[in-house]
Amino acid sequence: MALTTAPGPTRRRTGSVPTPAGRRGVGRARHGDGLAGYVFLSPWLLGLLAVTAIPMLLSLYLSFTNYDILTPLPEVEWVGFANYERMFTADPSYWHSVRVTLTFALVAVPLKLAAALGVALLLNRAWRGVGLFRGLFYLPSLLGGSVALAIVWVNMFNREGAFNSLLAFFGIEGKPWVNDPDWALETLMVLAIWQFGAPMVIFLAGLKQVPTELYEAASVDGAGRWRQFVAVTLPMLSPVIFFNLVLETINGFQGFTAAFVLSNGTGGPVDSTLMYTLNLYITGFTDLEMGYASAMAWVFLIAIAIITAIFFSTGRFWVHYSDGEDR
């Protein structure tokens, strides 16, 4: 960041030099500064090109070919839109994975955000030990998409797992949650929701920024707690909610690790955990249909972009920036 803005002040400063000689100097300096900027950026730029931009463009190209990983790149065949056609018209397991992913995101994301907000509200008070609880609730998020966590999850929720022992204690007969096609995805959702720590911390930071005068004014006007929450907290928090919503939705769509570990990389039982990204991985690396997998990846990218765009376009109806309303 600091590097990219560096040439700015110079330009403005040198721009104020009035003499013609100075102006010529400015031109050259501007040119040189730009180049220098790029040079200093070059480690990052090279990384961007080599690790992101070129592979992305390559995958765009590959999505129009029958690339199968083993065939050398120069020998791949151009197949036009065949991969895209197959995806939309002739691949039931593709649409199945779309359904699984949508179900997952539609359930897990709102619940995760609700849990994060609820706990953030509870922890946004000054009582003893609150720091400890903030830490504890954040802990699962630190473990993130870790494989170890998913393995623990599988062992907690299989037939002999800790969760069923707990249920048995209350006299309820459990299920083989992770090995039951009707419950495996739900188990993954619970795992995702449980990791609400990251959005919670962001909510907490947002809550701290709500001016107390607003609450005071509201209570003077006779607003109860619920009314205060609806009329003050939620609108003031809406930018943070928006941020978390966009981020978590994208995260939710990209869920991979837990599904991969839970199903041994198959998306089973009976494709119940065949998330989009997992299907993509299997198509590319197990079935060796990398061209088709690339097409799937591009459709995925576009779909996420559209969903994000929808969020942004609806945002102006419900997201309130406290400094923006006066403008």
Binding site: P181, N264, M290
Partner: protein, 449 residues
Amino acid sequence: MHPATPPTTGTQAVPVHRTPVRRRRLIRGLLAAVVALPLVLGAAGCGDDEQASTDPNAPVKLSIFWWGGEARAKLTEEALALYTKKHPNVTFEKTWQANQGYFDKLATLTAGGNPPDIFQIDDNYLAEYAARSTTLDLTSYKDDGDLDVSKFPESLWQYGVVDGKLAGVAAGENTQGLVYNKTLLTKNGLPEPTTGMTWEEHIAWAEQVAKRTKVPGTQDPSADYKAFWVWLRQQGKDLYKGKELGFTAEDVTRWFDLWKGARDRGATPTPDVIHEGNATDITKQLVVTGKAGTSWVWVNQMPELKKNTKDELGVIAYPGDPSGQWARASMYWSVFKGSRHKDVAVDVINFLANDTEAVKILGTDRGLPSNLDLRRVVSDDVTDPAMKQSIQVESDLAQKFGEAPQVPLKGHSKIRAELTKAAENAQYGRVTSAEAAEQFLTACKSAIA
């Protein structure tokens, strides 16, 4: 550059004129470095890119990649060390890992243009790699005698031929094996199953076991391609015929119905446990975790199973006529077509298959030794009781084996996954056997298309 620096006109003009020169030099230097870097790296990559020299004593470094456990790694490394001892100019860059993820890695290495010179592969992927000419055609080496398969059973080395090319050399021989928990049976006074029982008899036996011991008598193998395959062969069908499937939807329905009957009679575990057995690796098969009386495996996996249970295990052929089984190349060694040291790589494979000492070191870890003379030598030496059992069973079956089928088609791994999906769908009772069969057949056709 700090914004807080007070801008004074006097000091300003000078640097503006002067810096470009210095900066340009700097930029030129940096650009040169940036441009040169890939060249340097590329050159480094090309450094040892000369054609394999004709000097037989020139140093050669071969990369070799296999999957397996620690025991296999130890044996393989020992055998390779022996090769280096005999040919001091040849050294190895050894990489190994668990089976899960192995083929992802191998594919990625191949895509990166950097596959290992020698790699282990099995019949699930041999056709995929051979069809894309990733594997070196070993036919000429075989004809020249540089690769000696004369002591191999004929059908065993032919099981490495894909589209007329010898794509891999059998690193060992195995066949399907039904492993059962002996301790469980003797404790409950139950008879041991025997080779040659029909499928119906097997299921009736399993039902009896389940009733007496409360342990489901047999794992339901309806999702297991190798059991399905044996069963098909016993019906005069096959998994593949030429470039087509060798079976119909009716065959699949009958197969699924056979096991639906077994589940209804309580001979098998519940669907979630069956799924657990299908999804897990060899170390957690139901026969060793005590969740079923049998597991459907390859006979050379006996020692690995035995390591994971205190119970005594027995192994026999799959039910039905044992001629449905065949001497299968448990896995192959293949050479990368683009290897810079093809001849040496082939020599190493030949050594691993035919050198007495090397074969003795490797034992039966990858299956029975392919070389029949050495198989006898190794069998006499073996002390591990589980290994002995598997050798015994396979030797007994040797006279009864049917002809080897063709190497599975490209798309085989997809077909295996689809069979599991369809069979499990039927097991959970979400579809009928006929619907599952239909679903499987549709998926198969698009997989091999």
